[in-house]
């Protein structure tokens, strides 16, 4: 098994090609800016209102967390697609995949190592964003339930792993990373549309973000079917990438 050697190389690549830095910077920005915005928004509005009194209710930590989950649900998905779309496609386009796969490297371990490195990159990003959000929300807006906050971030991270694995699967299909990225976005968009159909909503991965939001607001709620289906999608996407690699000409 060479999966660890491949993972080590992939992880190093995430650092050397600045992907880790970009992902960490984006998540950190949202983690920092959301509680800051909620703290200072009334003052900003008051200053720009030129003396006209504007009544804004005081923001709570839940408001900041809900907005944080919301923002990550949109921008984070886009970042996930952008970072993962070239994972295999670019290797095929450049020919580096030929050099690696002419060594004793299984197609499956090649795909798994790619996904693992991307997941670690996003886990670091989510962790940094979460730390910043937790610290500033606590300092500026009030205390936050640590357990619920942890659960929210784990759900966010899992949703990103779904997005990464779908993008990785398309990246195995195409030599063009743009085609892989476009199809991944279309798939995620279709999944988003399907999740607006009430009977199907609890089963779609985006319900994880809704679960996160309700944890932030009410401290409750659940979407266990979505959790199971998300796991199934991740496994199916990696298996599909493996199959595609073994069937398509490199």
């Amino acid at each position: 098994m060479n999966v660890f050697v491949l993972f080590k190389k992939e992880a190093k690549e995430q650092v050397k090609t600045y992907r880790l830095l970009i992902v960490a910077a984006v998540f950190l920005l949202f983690g920092l800016s959301t509680p800051l915005l909620f703290k200072f928004l009334p003052e900003i509005l008051e200053m720009s209102g030129e003396g006209i009194p504007i009544e804004i209710p005081a923001f709570t930590p839940s408001d900041a967390l809900k907005s944080y989950v919301n923002s990550l649900g949109q921008i984070g998905v886009l970042v996930a697609v952008l970072v993962a779309m070239g994972a295999i496609a670019q290797e095929r386009e450049r020919g580096t995949i030929i050099m690696t796969l002419s060594k004793p490297v299984g197609f499956g371990e090649f795909a798994v190592a790619k996904l693992a490195a991307l997941v670690v990159t996003f886990l670091i990003g989510v962790a940094l964003g979460a730390l910043a959000c937790f610290y500033y929300t606590t300092v500026l807006l009030g205390s936050v339930d640590v357990q619920a906050f942890l659960a929210i971030n784990l759900l966010i991270a899992l949703y990103f792993v779904v997005c990464l694995s779908i993008t990785l699967m398309y990246s195995a299909f195409f030599k063009s990373q743009l085609a892989a990225g476009a199809l991944a976005l279309v798939t995620l968009l279709v999944m988003g549309i399907v999740s607006s159909i009430p009977p199907l909503a609890p089963y779609m991965p985006s319900a994880l973000m809704g679960w996160g939001q309700s944890l932030a607001v009410e401290g409750g709620g659940s979407a266990w079917p979505a959790l199971i289906i998300s796991g199934a999608i991740i496994v199916a996407a990696v298996l599909a990438a493996w199959q595609v690699l073994s069937r398509k000409e490199l």
């Binding site: 050697v5 050397k16 020919g95 580096t96 002419s102 004793p104 490297v105």
Partner: protein, 318 residues
Amino acid sequence: MTEAIVCKGLSKRYGRLLALDNLDLHVEEKTIFGFLGPNGAGKTSALRILAGLSRATSGKAWVAGEEARLNSSVLQRRLGYLPEDPAFYNWMSANEYLTFVGELFKLPSAELAARRAELLALVDLAGAASRRIGGYSRGMKQRLGIAQALMNRPAVLLLDEPCSALDPIGRLEVLETLVKLKEQKTTVFMSSHILADVERVCDVVAVIDKGKLIVQAGVEELRQRFAHPVFELEFDQPADSAIPLLQKVPGVTRVVTENRAGGVPVLRVHVTDTAKARHGLLHAVETSNLALRRYEIVLPSLEEVFVELVANHKEQSR
């Protein structure tokens, strides 16, 4: 002698294109085998199947005793492969890349470090080993490609156009390396367009066209069997006026003008029957009133054999 590579009825189809057509090959151990063919003949397809990177549509192949199956790790442990245009992770250095390859072959770290240093010295990259590969020239990348293919001390080395990106000195170094490898009992299977290189190092060659094997033989045997003799005629002045006279001599198939250093053109006269042509050619030269400087029967080059074989095959398949 045992066989390092065997192909039996190997075919590869891409949609409607038949890239390999029932290819049979036998490559003996510890030889340098030249795999020749025009562009699109199927050389890269065959090499990829042998390297476990592509699946044959039909037929079978064995490399170092192991069946060439897609993504077979047992197979890939026994061979080294260099693609035509080796591509690397540009952010890595040669040191990092060779370490990565050594780890994939599970070399213990002390052995890996020694092998890496040995290979970097062999391909003359020791001085640039810590530089990013992204800044390497094509020749340097090609040499690094050869080094990575040798990391596991393969029994069989598969090289797809190993000299195509190299300057004459680089080519010479690679060819010398290949000869050294043969001395170390490695079988080298190389495709090449540069027939002078093949002629210099290969023991046996196979010529393929449109996926079909035209011939497989030793370089010398190939010349004897397939090439007609060539007369070289060198004059003191331009000799265009002699060409029509030479072409009329019985047994002459074609006359080719070659410009060589010194500016005096040399006429290469291809004939079917040396004895018959010998007197006729001299008579034609006499008639032309040109001053003959040199008149010699030469052995045809592998390039001439190759051109003739491929041309004959194309004619037959029409």
